[in-house]
């Protein structure tokens, strides 16, 4: 158990570094697509060069977020609820990953 934390520490930093360009790209996209209609939005997102980074932002973001959330849970919850919340944080993250992967498939690769 003693060395488990080092891997998490490195994963948190590594995902943070990957997220820096993805967040900047996402914020620029919010500005440039603020006025889009549904059709414009869907056309833009159907391009795999857009849907893949978008999903990467969501997937890496929720991975990084789960590490941070687990730190907060472990700091403040000391009962059996702690383990329940830690498992829940994984379930939510896996659900988000599934949604993101399915979205990319539907937007850019299905028929």
């Amino acid at each position: 158990m003693a060395h488990k934390g080092t891997g998490t520490f490195v994963m948190q930093r590594a995902s943070a570094v990957l997220l820096v360009p993805l967040v900047i790209w996402f914020l620029v996209s919010v500005v440039s697509h603020a006025g889009d209609s549904f059709v414009e939005m869907k056309t833009w997102l159907s391009n795999p060069l857009v849907s893949i980074p978008f999903a990467a932002f969501v997937i890496i973001g929720s991975f990084h977020g789960r590490i941070g959330l687990s730190e907060v849970i472990v700091d403040y919850i000391h009962s059996w609820l702690r383990d329940v919340l830690l498992i829940l944080s994984w379930i939510v993250t896996l659900g988000v990953w599934a949604l993101a992967v399915w979205s990319v498939y539907q937007l850019s690769f299905a028929g």
Binding site: L27, A55, V74, W102, L107
Partner: protein, 136 residues
């Protein structure tokens, strides 16, 4: 604390809030956590937004309509500010990880900078976004 089978459960904890005297660096640390938790939820919502676009207009219009309403804009604005703050303060932490930037005066100054910068960036994004829509 009872031993736990889960990997996160037996690690050292952060010091608790009440033992600290208020400083802006402490405020930035708390805000980093707060925005982080909010972003975890916000990113889950963003995944639902994405799947709604993929599914088609029937799924998208209720969500898209909500986002242009006042509560929707408040959530969107909060998400964008949280993202801006967490990005800027996160860059500050990555710089700290390199072993630099720990001088207290510098740390206080960069904390203020992150607050001012993230609010300014959010305002800029909303201003440019509204301009792109051709005004309100």
């Amino acid at each position: 604390m009872a031993a736990s089978p889960l990997p996160h459960a037996d690690k050292p904890l952060s010091p608790h809030l009440q033992i600290w005297r208020f400083t802006v660096t402490m405020a930035a640390s708390i805000t980093h956590r707060g925005t982080g938790v909010a972003l975890y939820a916000g990113t889950a919502l963003l995944a639902f937004w994405l799947i709604a676009v993929a599914q088609g207009p029937g799924f998208f219009y209720p969500i898209g309509g909500f986002l242009t309403s006042l509560p929707g804009m408040a959530i969107l604005g909060g998400y964008i500010w949280a993202l801006s703050f967490h990005l800027m303060n996160g860059l500050r932490y990555l710089y700290w990880d390199s072993g630099r930037g720990f001088d207290p005066k510098m740390a206080r100054m960069t904390s203020w900078l992150v607050y001012v910068g993230s609010i300014a960036l959010t305002a800029l994004i909303f201003f440019l976004g509204y301009s792109a829509r051709g005004g309100v």
